[in-house]
């Protein structure tokens, strides 16, 4: 079979990161760009996220997900960029060989000059949280329930319990209520809400849905269909507290228990994965360790806001376009690399590396995920050899909200003035 080498950049995934990557990959050099998407439409998860809350940063508007996706898709379709839907990438090699399958195009082999990984993430399932009980029907991840209700037009059940107080769990609790179901409660293992507080108000309080903190699901009952669940309280070590079991009669359990970046293809291509983010280690260009492979969006780390996913896609796409056009394969040659490491109260950071002599006048978005809940004014400090290089204040630090700091050219100048190769981010 012939290998198709016509493309400068191939973007794997047509969600928000992939769409903006494709737009900017084209803009970088007016080269040939292809987007490969396994679904039958673009937009990734956004078409089923019919709630508002998207676009505050990129448009200054509060838009529903499909509306936000439509704007980007319209912008992409105005460009001479190729789009292949219903097509699955089955293999990716370190030499940038891409093998695809689709019922329409059959088996195809491509070798572009650069690749952008934009495969997004998937949901953690019941098996991954080791939830005991029967294997009855009526147990759904929040994303599956969302797809059933918002796209396919089916109700997953009538009396529903949600496990997990992340934003998707709370949004689905509201959504199912709006469509006429009775949501009996949202259970959260941790002693605090894991989603945004405003979603607690507008999704749970507004619809009188109770939230139970430090509580988890202990058992599922029912043979063919869920007939009820048993909840149990947990202590500060998250261990079950015997004697606190309670039975709740319900026909459906919705799980909103976390997201995992989808990196099977990245691993096949030899892309290094950060154990903290579960995504590729990327630099300030969103480049991975494999020359010519870039990554953006939820495949690199779980974001809170799609606006930042789109921005990351733009950087990855532009960098990939520039890389495809350049003859030199190591375009970072001669630039100092500064590694960024998480320190106190910081769970993870992207990008993990900045090439400081290579940025021109571009900004770097440093995205830090706090791993502790600090409901007070905090100081975020970037230290080189235990000495602060720069610091700034935030009103609070919460695991539910990434702290995003735009490093402007003058901040980069401060970094250049040091001789360090490593920065540690601390929150105190």
């Amino acid at each position: 079979m012939d290998v198709n080498t016509n493309y400068d950049v191939i973007v794997i995934g047509g969600g928000p990161a992939g769409i903006s990557a494709a737009i900017e990959a084209y803009n970088a050099n007016k080269g040939k760009v292809l987007v490969i998407e396994r679904n039958d439409s673009l937009g990734g998860i956004l078409p089923q996220c019919i709630h508002n809350g998207f676009g505050a940063i990129n448009f200054g508007e509060d838009l529903p997900g499909p509306h936000y996706a439509h704007r980007y898709e319209t912008a992409l379709r105005e460009l001479p960029v190729d789009i292949m839907l219903d097509t699955m990438v089955v293999d990716l090699t370190p030499e940038l060989d891409i093998y695809t399958m689709s019922s329409y195009y059959g088996y195809q082999h491509y070798r572009p000059r650069a690749v952008v990984l934009a495969m997004g993430c998937r949901e953690r399932t019941r098996a991954q949280i080791r939830l005991p009980g029967t294997r009855a029907a009526g147990i759904f991840t929040a994303g599956t329930a969302q797809r059933l209700v918002n796209i396919e037009g089916y109700m997953p059940g009538n009396e529903i319990v949600v496990l997990g107080s992340g934003d998707i769990g709370m949004i689905m609790a509201r959504r199912l209520t709006i469509e006429g179901a009775k949501v009996l409660g949202v259970m959260e293992l941790l002693p605090f809400l894991t989603g945004l507080r405003r979603n607690y108000v507008q999704c749970l309080q507004d619809y009188n849905i109770p939230l139970h903190l430090s509580t988890t699901v202990n058992k599922i009952y029912g043979e063919r269909r869920v007939e009820g669940i048993e909840t149990i309280k947990v202590d500060e070590n998250l261990d079950h507290v015997p004697g606190t079991e309670e039975f709740i009669k319900c026909d459906t359990l919705v799980l909103s228990v976390g997201l995992i970046p989808e990196n099977e293809l990245s691993r096949k291509a030899g892309v290094q994965i950060d154990v903290r983010t579960n995504g590729p280690i990327v630099d300030s260009d969103m480049a991975t360790n494999v020359p010519g492979i870039f990554a953006a969006g939820n495949v690199t780390a779980i974001y809170d806001l799609v606006d930042y996913v789109s921005k990351a896609g733009e950087i990855a796409g532009f960098s990939a376009g520039r890389y495809a056009a350049s003859q030199e394969k190591n375009h970072h040659e001669g630039s100092r690399a500064i590694r960024i490491k998480p320190g106190a109260n910081v769970g993870s950071i992207i990008p993990q590396q900045i090439f400081i002599d290579d940025l021109g006048d571009r900004d770097v978005y440093l995205s830090m995920r706090p791993n502790s809940l600090l409901e007070r004014m905090v100081k975020v400090e970037l230290d080189a050899d235990s000495e602060p290089v720069m610091s700034f204040r935030e009103q609070y630090a919460r695991p539910a909200e990434m702290i995003i700091r735009k490093l402007k050219p003058r901040d980069i100048e401060k970094l250049k003035a040091t001789e360090t190769n490593e920065l540690v981010a601390n929150i105190s």
Partner: protein, 131 residues
């Protein structure tokens, strides 16, 4: 919202919805429900929010309506202008009876001036016609 009573005076606590920060704002109300003091907000949006929330709480309703002859059985809709909070479930029930004919485009109005209140449901997605 939670509330504490001390004689004729009440103190209510709201979480501000204007930004992701979610400030807890305390408002002291007098015997005639007049606002005596607002505290806990970190910016002026918090004050604006509780004043509106006490007078006339409003929210956006995102939902979906049925589509006939479309490539998808549903189209997402929303109230681009926030509507009275107390009517959310009434409008949700109303929206379950609506059917629109494909094609539907972003921005199409599927329900206008509901109950004469100026509330409208507008499509936030696209559905093509199935042929």
């Amino acid at each position: 919202m939670s509330e504490e009573k001390q004689g004729d005076y009440r103190t209510r606590t709201d979480i501000c919805l204007r930004c992701p920060q979610g400030c807890e704002v305390q408002t002291m109300l007098g015997p005639d429900d007049e606002i005596l003091n607002i505290s806990g907000n970190k910016c002026k949006l918090g004050k604006e929010y509780v004043e509106q929330e006490i007078k006339d709480p409003r929210r956006v309703l995102p939902t979906s309506v049925k589509v006939t002859n479309g490539t998808s059985p549903l189209v997402p809709v929303w109230t681009p202008e926030p509507m009275p909070k107390g009517l959310l479930l009434d409008l949700a029930a109303e929206s379950r009876k609506i059917e629109v004919e494909a094609p539907v485009h972003v921005g199409d109005v599927v329900l206008d001036d509901w109950r004469g209140l100026g509330i409208r449901l507008v499509a936030s997605g696209e559905v093509s016609r199935a042929d």
